[in-house]
Structure formats: structure tokens, C-alpha cells
């Protein structure tokens, strides 16, 4: 006796059309990214007389003789890296404990906290600066006008991204049970945070930190309007005298952000191979 499957035959035509559509979309979107980047690369490799291509503009960036010309750029890069580190630390030290506390002890405050953290994404940077200007006049008097002080403003602007990264991990982890298990095993709250909470939220914390770094490295408006030097303001300044250097630095910062995203993806993939218990899975 033969078995027969019933139902409509699978449509290979529809499947093929779907694949073509997906590939077309991928090519179009890829081109949107690739064409400007390729143009930037080609521009940065153009020879001084415009007749051919060489690496002179790239070599000029690292030539000690040009140190004076690019001093402002070096300062901008240094400031941006410092700001990225301080902003990431602010996020990890202030936002994460607050989120964990609310998640574990005051779940009713989850929505208000989410609202507060997402508000900055709705406020244009220019409006933010209008509000921040008088604040920074006080900050300058109290803490000086060092570049790091911009991290206070950046801590606000990266809140939505950092919040989302950590929240997704919090929602996927049964942190309440894990922390209660740790406490019944004799772990105090600080040790529970260090030995259980942080490792359990590793993916979210790394993603929050890397996104913070990427956002800070690309920030222009606030630094410019508050008259601070960072990578982006320095790039604008350099581009007026040496457009090649500006384009090369833009390419390098793009590559850096790209590597960061790859690292986030890699860390996420590692985490996916080691699933953590979720409330849904346990219910």
C-alpha cells in the first residue's frame, strides 16, 4: 500500500521569486552603502596631480612631519576615545545597576524607567544643546572644561540604545531566580552582582558598551555647539584644509564602528550557543 501526501504542491515559482527579490534588495541596499565608501576610498587614493592613484595621502597622515597640521585631529581622536570610555563607564555604572534594581525589586517602575531612558531619542541634538548650554556653564565652573565633561551629555544621548541592549538581555534571563539562588547559597548582594548578574547579562552589557562607543565616536552636534573638540569636529576642521585627511579619518572611524558591530554580533553568537534560562521556557 502506498502512502500519499495531500495538500497543495509546494510552489517552486513563488520560492524562486522570493529569493530573487531578497537578493535584489540585498544588492540595492549593499550598493547604497558600498558606493559612497568606494568613492571615499578612490578619492583618498587619488594622486596629488589628479592623474592616478597612490597611497601618499594615507602615508601623509602618519608622517611625523605633518604632526603640526594634524595636531587638532589627534586631539579630536584622543578626546573622542576618552569620551567613549567615560560614557561607556557612566552607562555601565549608573544605568545597569538601576535597571537591575528596578527589574528585581521594583518591577512597577520598569515602564517609567523605559520612558525616561527612551526620551532622549525623541529630542533633536540641537534642542538638547539649548538645554545643556546653561548646565555646562555650571559644569565648567565646578569641574573645569575638560573634554571628558562632554561624557555627561553623551551619557544622556546614548541612554536609549544602551537601555535597549541591556533590557533585551534582562527580559530573556530569569535573573530573579538566579539571584535568589545565589543568595540562598550565601552570596551577599555585591557578590551576587559581580558573580551572577554581570556574567548573566554579559551580552547586553557588551552590546551597550560598544554601541555607546560607536555613538560617541560619531557625535558632532553637541560637541560643535558647545565648542569642544572631538573626532567629528576635528574632521570638519581638517576637511577645510585637507579634504583627503578628513575622508581617510572618516573611513577609519567607519571601519572601527564596523569592527565593533562585528564584535557585538560575535559575542551575541557565542551567547546564543550557551542559552540561558528564560521565564517563558520555564513556565
Amino acid at each position: 500500500m502506498s502512502a500519499r501526501t495531500t495538500g497543495a504542491p509546494r510552489s517552486t515559482t513563488a520560492g524562486g521569486a522570493g529569493t530573487v527579490a531578497r537578493r535584489t534588495a540585498l544588492v540595492v541596499v549593499g550598493a547604497l552603502f558600498a558606493v559612497p565608501i568606494a568613492a571615499m576610498v578612490a578619492f583618498s587614493l587619488r594622486s596629488a596631480d589628479g592623474t592616478g592613484h597612490d597611497l601618499n595621502h594615507w602615508l601623509a597622515i602618519v608622517d611625523p612631519e605633518n604632526e603640526r597640521m594634524y595636531r587638532n585631529l589627534v586631539e579630536g581622536v584622543t578626546n573622542s576615545l576618552l569620551l567613549a570610555v567615560v560614557s561607556a563607564l557612566l552607562v555601565l555604572v549608573l544605568l545597569v545597576p538601576a535597571m537591575v534594581l528596578v527589574h528585581l525589586r521594583h518591577p512597577r517602575l520598569v515602564r517609567p524607567l523605559e520612558f525616561v531612558c527612551l526620551v532622549p531619542i525623541t529630542v533633536p541634538a540641537i534642542v538638547l544643546v539649548v538645554g545643556l548650554a546653561p548646565v555646562y556653564s555650571v559644569v565648567s565652573r565646578v569641574a573645569g572644561s575638560g573634554a571628558w565633561t562632554l561624557a555627561l551629555a553623551y551619557g544622556v544621548t546614548v541612554l536609549p540604545y544602551a537601555y535597549r541592549a541591556v533590557q533585551s538581555d534582562l527580559a530573556a534571563t530569569d535573573l530573579r531566580t538566579l539571584t535568589e539562588a545565589a543568595r540562598t547559597l550565601g552570596s551577599s548582594w555585591p557578590r551576587t552582582m559581580a558573580l551572577v548578574v554581570v556574567p548573566s547579562l554579559r551580552r547586553g552589557l557588551l552590546a551597550a558598551a560598544f554601541i555607546t562607543v560607536a555613538v560617541v565616536l560619531g557625535e558632532f552636534t553637541i560637541a560643535s555647539l558647545l565648542n569642544r573638540v572631538n573626532l567629528q569636529t576635528a574632521l570638519v576642521q581638517v576637511s577645510r584644509s585637507d579634504p583627503y585627511a578628513a575622508v581617510i579619518l572618516a573611513l577609519i572611524s567607519l571601519a572601527f564602528a564596523f569592527v565593533l558591530l562585528l564584535v557585538i554580533g560575535r559575542v551575541g553568537a557565542l551567547g546564543a550557543a550557551r542559552p540561558i534560562p528564560t521565564r517563558k521556557a520555564l513556565s
Binding site: 535568589e180 540562598t184 550557551r274
Partner: protein
């Protein structure tokens, strides 16, 4: 200032934790607008396994969490070996706990999970490894020490959680529905294993469950909870054969509730001889609770009815007999006594004793 309970030595050569006496004294727990515990009184003898049984929302988990220090009580006292532990932080109560949810730390191996409590107590590395190995052997997972939680089945994860809870030799073991996420076969296996280990270590254990079969199977005594307080505490046999209230009779096992009348030490039920009554109830009309195995088909006498449905349960058949509009009797009998639905039958009660409650309860 926070107190710390005295701990048994972690380097004890016997490897056996001393069970502690535990008592809840008039414990009340109030959440916003809701009383989870209302004057809870319960005592556990050293080395005893008490199962707390009750429907969802009756407060059994709250009671257990209050003993662990994971919930603050509103009033009352909880003592471990006579010392009031209310106000003592969880990490200093010296209790071991297994949760309903899988609670292994996902970033640690099985061995590291089991060693966690010892690390918190600053036990040296060699002693930690030895103790963790012993505990993993005790739960039958000595070979899986280097695996991670996601590489284990649900039953294995709960075994590791049990080993982790026991490795510090706590005074009290708390089990919060540890088997409810497991499939039926594994549940029975692990249930028996928990009982074996508990007896081996003589550790005082509070086992919270909503599964009556589980409670009756593992516990020395069962405490039935209802609406935040204890309805009855007794051995599984006492609870089954002599329920103190209608709630216990109906919640534990299956019962037929039939009207009767107490006369002296006997209760008169319709259609059967007078039978001795459990306890000393007041004379007058009562509800009598008759187990399905104490109802049988008879040829003459008894009550007349019609078979409504028959279910094959493996060892026995369960038949429902409609006697009148209000009375549906359930009886368990051998498969060869099977009567088909719609057939008129006569049934009678044959209990050695029968539990009764007043009509008001």
C-alpha cells in the same frame, strides 16, 4: 546589625548536615491589598520532611520564601532551632533551596555551580572540589561536572540544583515545586531520589507542591494550606483517611460527598449499614466523605443508580454512577466488574470508618 546562624562544620567527616527544628509562629504576610499568610503555624521536627500542599495562591510558596528570607513577614516569628530568623538576611540563614525554575548559573559548569556555595563560604579549592564531587556522586551526576546547564536535561539540572543546595550542609532544605517543570516519568524518579537523599542526610526539609500524589508519596507529614493558613497537618495516611475539613477531604484524593447523620460514634448513610465515624463529631446531619475504593457494586440493597461513564485507569476502572439529580458517585473497581454506561446498577458503601464534616463547613 544582622545575625548569622551557627553553621555545621563544612569539614565534618560524616558529610551529614544536622537537621534543625523549624517553626512558624502566627506568621502573617501582607502584600498590597492581599494577605498571603494569615496566622500560619507549623512546626518541623529535625530531620523531618514536611510537604506543604495546597491550591495555587494559597500561600505555600510565600511560606517557604519567608523561611528562606526571600520575603519579609508582616508579623509573627520564624525560628530555626529556636532562634528567630526574621530579619536575618537570606545569605546568612544557612538554608539550601531548589527552585521550580531551572536556576543553574548558565556561565558556570556543573561543578562550578555546585562549588558556588562553598566559594561564598571561602572553603579552599581542594575541599571544594572534593565536596562538589561527593555531592554530584550522591545525585548520580559525577561524570557531568564539566558540562554547562544547557547541556543537561531538565531532570539533570534539578539534580545539580539539589546537589548545589546540599553541598553547604544547610540546616534546612527548601524545595519549591522542584519537579513541576519535569515530565511525569522523570518526576517520579527524582521524587524518590529526593526522598532517599533527604533520609540519608537527615536534613529537615520543607517541600512545597500542588501535586497531592507527590506530597503523599514523599512526606513524613503533609500540611494542607488554604487561604494563607494551615487547614490540617498529618501523616499522609491520616490526611487521606481522616480529613479534618471538607476542603481537605475534597482536595486530597477523590471523595464522594454524601449526606448522613451522626448518631453517637456512628454515621448513618443512605443505603448502607451504619459505619464508625472519624473523630467525635456532634450528633446531627453531616457530610460524609467516602473514597471511591470504598464504594462497590451490590446485587441487592444499597442505592439504585445508572452508570454515567467509565474510565480505564490501568490498575482499576473508575465508574461514575448517577443516583439522583444531585448525587453522582465515583467508584473504583476491578476491570472485570465493568458496567457499561446507561446500565442500571446498585451501589453501597463499605468504609471501615468515614470522615465527616458538619454541613456548614
Amino acid at each position: 546589625m544582622t545575625a548569622t546562624l551557627p553553621r555545621p562544620s563544612l569539614t565534618s567527616p560524616t558529610g551529614v548536615g544536622a537537621g534543625a527544628a523549624v517553626a512558624f509562629h502566627d506568621v502573617t504576610k501582607q502584600f498590597a491589598g492581599h494577605r498571603a499568610l494569615t496566622g500560619l503555624d507549623l512546626e518541623l521536627q529535625p530531620g523531618e520532611l514536611v510537604a506543604v500542599l495546597g491550591p495555587s495562591g494559597c500561600g505555600k510558596t510565600t511560606a517557604l520564601r519567608s523561611l528562606a528570607g526571600l520575603e519579609d513577614v508582616t508579623s509573627g516569628r520564624i525560628t530555626i532551632d529556636g532562634r528567630d530568623v526574621v530579619g536575618v538576611p537570606t545569605h546568612r540563614r544557612d538554608v539550601g533551596m531548589v527552585f521550580q525554575a531551572y536556576s543553574l548559573f548558565p556561565h558556570l559548569t556543573v561543578r562550578q555551580n555546585v562549588e558556588f556555595g562553598l566559594r561564598m563560604r571561602r572553603v579552599d579549592k581542594a575541599a571544594r572540589a572534593t565536596r562538589a564531587g561527593e555531592m554530584l556522586d550522591l545525585v548520580g551526576l559525577g561524570d557531568l561536572g564539566e558540562r554547562y546547564a544547557h547541556q543537561l536535561s531538565g531532570g539533570q539540572q534539578q539534580r545539580v540544583a539539589l546537589a548545589r543546595a546540599l553541598v553547604t550542609r544547610p540546616r534546612v532544605l527548601l524545595l519549591d515545586e522542584p519537579l513541576s517543570a519535569l515530565d511525569a516519568k522523570v518526576r517520579v524518579q527524582l521524587r524518590d531520589e529526593i526522598r532517599r537523599i533527604q533520609r540519608e542526610l537527615s536534613i529537615t526539609t520543607l517541600f512545597v507542591t500542588h501535586d497531592q500524589e507527590e506530597a503523599l508519596a514523599v512526606a513524613d507529614r503533609v500540611a494542607v494550606m488554604r487561604a494563607g493558613s494551615i487547614e490540617q497537618v498529618g501523616t499522609p495516611e491520616e490526611l487521606y483517611s481522616a480529613p479534618a475539613t471538607a476542603f481537605v477531604a475534597e482536595f486530597v484524593g477523590t471523595s464522594n460527598r454524601v449526606s448522613g447523620e451522626v448518631i453517637g460514634t456512628l454515621v448513618r448513610l443512605a443505603g448502607c449499614p451504619e459505619v464508625p465515624v472519624v473523630g467525635t463529631p456532634d450528633e446531627g446531619p453531616v457530610w460524609a466523605y467516602v473514597r471511591p475504593e470504598d464504594v462497590s457494586f451490590v446485587e441487592q440493597g444499597g442505592l439504585a443508580g445508572v452508570v454515567e461513564s467509565v474510565s480505564f485507569l490501568g490498575a482499576v476502572c473508575r465508574t461514575r454512577v448517577r443516583v439522583d439529580r444531585e448525587t453522582l458517585l465515583v467508584l473504583d473497581h476491578r476491570a472485570d466488574e465493568r458496567r457499561e454506561p446507561g446500565v442500571p446498577v446498585r451501589v453501597s458503601f463499605t468504609p471501615a470508618r468515614v470522615a465527616v464534616t458538619t454541613r456548614a463547613s
